[in-house]
Subunit: 236 residues, 4 copies
């Protein structure tokens, strides 16, 4: 994406299209009332999020959700058409958070490595922060959403696909600008996203005690320097 002012940046509009329907306005009609917006819907989402994260989708029953939300059985179906619908909304919520956190990196003219690295660091911090703010949501994404059904699998596939496309494209542009190491940018993108996911997983599921600032530093360091020491020069 070549901007008119000559600087290159990667918009994240394409990422948003990965979500089936726009999540921003997921509240029910409820036209008449302006204040005291139905809190029940939110109660259900909160209860379900907690339970899905703790016990998993399949082991969480409608009974559990309504008990925790403090509503009656039938009421549940007033706000959501199915158990799956609640899950879907929660998943879309996480995905949106992550997408929303991805900001284009603008190298400047001429490319200023230091600035780039700062921006990368900020991007990583945002992506991590988006998920690490809600352990249950993170858990949902990394350990419940997968392997559920074909719909969810597809949604996830699309999401990660779009994320990978976007990052790979960004890296390719970065290579052209000389700020990204030569190589298969798509594989780099996959690896980079994998690192982030690994961090989230370790924190959410593995229950590692991860300090977000340290994690951001380390990920940025790997991005810049890799893991192994170099005697001199690069890889042979």
């Amino acid at each position: 994406m070549e901007k008119s002012d000559g600087t290159a940046s990667i918009s994240h509009d394409s990422l948003l299209s990965a979500l089936p329907n726009n999540v921003t306005e997921s509240t029910p009609a409820s036209a008449g009332q302006t204040i005291a917006r139905s809190t029940k819907r939110e109660d259900i989402l909160q209860a379900a999020k907690h339970l899905f994260a703790r016990s998993g989708y399949h082991f969480t029953g409608i009974s559990d959700i309504i008990k925790r939300a403090g509503i009656a059985r039938g009421t549940f179906y007033l706000y959501f058409k199915s158990k799956k619908a609640v899950f879907d909304e929660l998943v879309e919520d996480v995905l949106f958070r992550v997408i929303d956190s991805a900001k284009p990196v603008i190298p400047g003219e001429p490319p200023d490595m230091d600035a780039v690295i700062r921006q990368v660091r900020i991007n990583i911090a945002h992506a991590l922060g988006a998920l690490l703010s809600d352990r249950n949501l993170a858990k949902l994404l990394v350990s419940q959403a997968e392997g559920l059904d074909h719909d969810t699998e597809n949604k996830l596939r699309e999401f990660y696909g779009a994320l990978t496309d976007w990052l790979a494209e960004s890296l390719t542009e970065g290579q052209e600008l000389g700020i990204v190491r030569p190589g298969n940018s798509r594989l780099m993108a996959i690896a980079a996203i994998g690192m982030l996911r690994g961090m989230i997983w370790a924190w959410a599921v593995g229950e590692e005690d991860i300090d977000i600032h340290e994690a951001v530093e380390e990920l940025a360091a790997i991005a810049v320097e890799g893991i192994l020491m170099r005697s001199r020069g690069g890889i042979q």
Copy 2:
């Protein structure tokens, strides 16, 4: 682990302990017969693997498995005590493959960076190869095993925990030997494993067309050099 000859290496015995019982010989007794090994057990495993990978554990019924394996209902329970038992065996199978592929890296005296990198590359190739040989098995590990019961979740957690411990320890030793960049070795380990998982996931679930050799090269390159270019020097 300091070996008597001065060279350091990391055994992977600790990794093996992550598996509840040794998987290598899980076939039933059937002592007498030497030939004509019961093919039914294998049929069931194959059928279940395919279906679990395609539709998920919960959406795969015994009916589906026996239909695909071409056996009767009761026959299934002649070979496995439950649906869960089949799944467990499949999961242990993948875990064992991965564990088996992890080989210690011996830097030599004095540390020869080139040799180290070669060995790292081999390790990556093994780990990837162990899983990329069977897409369904890979899918099982990265996307189906989670969100199941707590037992399986714990097994997986333990597995990744042991893998992380092992790699983190290796990296720490590497730092002492000056072949690994300074930094939080545990976070490095998490990130490194995340990269591998990301690769697997992209191939198994995202259905990316990944060339194993290229993937190994790129991962090794990231390990050695990171992703971003460096003006000179490391991160500021």
Copy 3:
């Protein structure tokens, strides 16, 4: 049991303890409503009683019960947690009826043989009447409750044990008061209870056409002339 006024009587409190929990109020909460008591629960019990008595516990399926009760499969489990639970409630019901019918015999001072016999006859009438009012319930007690699981078997064993203990004790006291023939009172108790059971069985299972009044008379006659003391004579 020696009462302070010199008269002896046998309380049947010990018998009640044979029942695991008090059966009298086994209806579900449903606090608010006063009228329109859930008839479904009763429907299920009636249907199950009929079927258990006709075909036996093991040959009666949930399908049979719900078909006869005119409800759906799931509805059954709204009122009972298992097929066994229905059976248990029915059994406890019979046991309670029998226990409830046992009233202490008070000989008076000095012992009035005629009064004693009248009371014995009343006791027999109660015990028989409690069961002969419901053929299916009777059948359950004498021919279905056995051969089930150990829990039920134990409950029954305990019940008959308590009944025997109580009667044997009563007879022993009667012997001390000179209104019961000398002899092994425990064996007498077993025989007496056996007679009653035999009567019930013949009516419920053997489908004998038994007139309750005649049966009471005959049993009383045997009791009076066989167990109770006579002016002179006895076994040679």
Copy 4:
């Protein structure tokens, strides 16, 4: 039954007809071999008897029986056409033993009360002895055979019916001869058989510690002083 010599006695031929097929020759054909008669059939019966008595018909599987009998699955069906067939044979065995033990009481001319009582006592001893010799068989009869299926229920009904008929008839004849108290002889018969059953049940199921001689004495005492005529007196 009026015998030609003027004495009355009750044959028990009618009782034998209660058994569907004559039990005496229940061994399989196996024509050729005279010696070394197949012990397997007996092994199965023994094993089944033990298990049925211990765990009940429904909780005893073919697997249990063959394991205990030390034979293979298929072999079982070489000797019995079904699990039920084994049970039936065992039940018929008990019934036959009881029937076999019933001997006619011959009062003599003129009726000798002492002789009659002796014979009654012997009859009771035989009936009890037939069952008390094998606790498992007794248990089968009193606690497993009932409530099984309609076939068995009918067989049992017929058996007890015939037994009752026989005893009632005997009692009626006794009344005519003046050795049995007036009254409903059928109800007397039912009560008498009930006493015996009660004794057996208490011993086999209730696990009472019953001395057979004492039991015979007590039952005889009840019979003599409750059912048989006395010089003077009777029910008031």
